[in-house]
Symmetry: C2
Subunit: 406 residues, 2 copies
């Protein structure tokens, strides 16, 4: 016996499934016509037309000018609507805040970053700064916001709560989504910054199904992608590469342990080893400032900087060899600070992997540089929102958020 | 337009799906009647009866004596057939070979192990020894064999080919399934020993969805279970914990690198540190022989042995803290040699985890001992076969293998 309510729920599930199928087909290959979508999805033309009209009505899909073929009715190409609901990414890092808006097609439509020594500010002031910045970026993009993701350099549990931020005092247990949710009126999640950067990397390199994105800033983290999906760990806390012990009797780390990798290859350790300790305070002003100073010193052949980078590369390589031996991931992607320093790091990292991974002779690992730069975490945060919109295929809740955010 | 062949293929898929559904319902809760199975699966009683008869005919399911209720027809309880097709596990390790037969209910129906210094024998002689042992165990069990899995202490690719066995010269690239396949006439796969042990552990502790099984023998390996499933890595080579670098300038390892964990906490390192180096050669004769010598020395309070175990525990703990920081797995299970030495290892391992895992305050890790002992890899190998039989629900190819194997 099936009740009317059950039949209706089942019909809704079918409609949602069909919407999703059509939307993903449009996302995978833009400019398909309704007839081509019917052929591709196996749905009837009538169903595709009805679903397409619904998606156009929700602002998710747009029609382009008709292609006039040799005969028959002109085919109208469908694309994801570049002026449809967008994803808002916000990043709070140790020495800057940033925000970006990504449209449904994955294009960055607005980005801004400001230096901010967040270790000296209250979390409330930092979040106000980040939210103000985000509001400006949203207003400039002119797009409605479907949702927001805040990237932070710390542990975020599977429920989206910030649990531990070793480099930002006062953030443990903070509900940082509340203020953003209130300001923009949209669903807001919190995500670890390295995991967010891995989402951006995955989108920029869909051919890589399994990789470890190593992200160097003041903190050192990793975003792990397995079988084409971000792996966040059973409790949400994976990827804390910066706290892998290098020397159990080494220098004390901000996390309370001793000899963590971060103490050898993090931004401050690199600047100190290169004889550029002042840069840490003078270069605050934008993400990547410290990388700029190291890059300049390395490019002009400063021996101390070159030695510091070679040492850091070897230490990273030894630690990564251990991780790769356990995980069997074939590719290391250098991100953040390390992406720009890749010309000096890739060699020593690769040598240690070739010396120490047990698969070296049968399946060697490769080390590549991210093409995304220091804005990858905030872009990945925004892309996560788009991924959710496209996989749910639901009309965005915050379609009228343009005013609220401005 | 649907052709007759397509309709038939689709009907076969439905029949197979239903068979699987019924078989899993019987496996999950034995002694269900046909009526209870119909209620549980949502299939009609006629379909359940037809599927049950087919499963009984294939030897996968057996009927018990009818439960006589107060009224109505007596209900016949159905169970997995303990005399049905079995899984054959074979293990080739560095200093022994073993074999076991597990029936459909997961009960071990036969087991044997013999010491064998496999480093001094040709792979052909080792495999002959292992296959002869397996044939004896199969004959004693009296059960037909559905398939075989051979566990080896090395790298096995996703296609089941042995690619690298650091502690067994001559095994790289060997097709060791061929001889077993020929002898027993059944499908045969090769699996890494630590992964096989993780399958056995998972079956004995279904409540643990995510864990790292650390298996210590002459080699040190790990079997990783994520979301209730063995994680073998993108290329099949995950879990090589023994080759995580502890000290990049440390002693040379059999793998060709320096300072691998195995050189500090493997069986031979433990025996040397405990002042029992002779045991490595005199105690060959069964899996766990070396553990027995260490156990006896530790139990009588031998200071050198106690110190060696405490050092090994700390080194294991530091390395595991790094792995847990990257993977966020909440539980370490000590297997093999380490299971028996757990009373001495758990303390120092736990202390290092509590000192060095970044989640220690919000989600501490736990260290437990496997209850399975040194036979877990060979049992897991056999259980893998049963898992395949139950998930495919296909009549076993080798139902007549009793004669062939004997």
């Amino acid at each position: 016996v099936t009740s009317g309510a059950e039949a209706s729920a089942s019909q809704q599930a079918v409609r949602r499934h069909n919407r999703n199928l059509v939307l993903r087909a449009i996302a995978a290959e833009p400019r398909r016509s309704r007839a081509q979508l019917a052929e591709h999805t196996g749905l009837t033309k009538a169903t595709v037309s009805s679903v397409a009209d619904e998606l156009i009505g929700a602002g998710l899909v747009a029609e382009l000018d008709a292609d006039r073929g040799a005969r028959g009715r002109p085919a109208v190409p469908l694309v994801l609507n570049p002026d449809g609901p967008s994803g808002l990414g916000i990043e709070v890092n140790v020495d800057y805040v940033s925000a970006c808006v990504v449209d449904l097609t994955g294009t960055v439509r607005g980005y801004a970053a400001v230096g901010s020594d967040n270790r000296t500010l209250t979390p409330g002031r930092v979040l106000r700064r980040a939210t103000d910045l985000a509001a400006r970026v949203v207003a400039q993009s002119g797009l409605p916001v479907a949702g927001a993701v805040i990237a932070v350099p710390g542990l975020v549990d599977t429920g989206g709560t910030v649990r531990r931020v070793p480099n930002l005092p006062g953030w443990d247990g903070l509900d940082c989504a509340r203020r953003v949710r209130a300001r923009f009126g949209v669903a807001t999640r919190v995500e670890n910054e390295a995991n967010a950067a891995a989402v951006a990397e995955l989108r920029s390199r869909p051919e890589l199904a399994d990789f470890l994105l190593v992200s160097g800033e003041i903190g050192v983290g990793a975003g792990l992608v397995l079988s084409g999906r971000p792996f966040r760990g059973p409790r949400g806390f994976s990827g804390e590469l910066g706290h892998v012990p290098v020397d159990p009797a080494g220098p004390e780390c901000g996390c309370g342990a001793c000899g963590c990798l971060e103490q050898y290859v993090g931004q401050e350790a690199l600047l100190n080893a290169a004889g550029l300790p002042g840069v840490a305070s003078t270069q605050i002003g934008a993400p990547g400032g410290a990388a700029g100073a190291l890059l300049a010193a390395a490019a002009r052949g400063d021996q101390r900087t070159l030695g510091a980078l070679a040492d850091a590369g070897r230490t990273l390589g030894v630690t990564l060899a251990g991780v790769l031996n356990v995980l069997d991931v074939p590719t290391v992607v250098l991100g953040g600070l390390y992406a720009r320093l890749a010309p000096w790091l890739q060699g020593p990292i690769g040598e240690e992997l070739q010396r120490r991974t047990i698969t070296r002779a049968i399946a060697p690992a490769s080390v590549i540089a991210s093409a995304l730069g220091p804005d990858s975490a905030v872009i990945g945060a925004a892309v996560s929102v788009i991924d959710e919109v496209l996989s749910d295929a639901l009309p965005p809740a915050g379609a009228d958020s343009r005013q609220a955010g401005a």
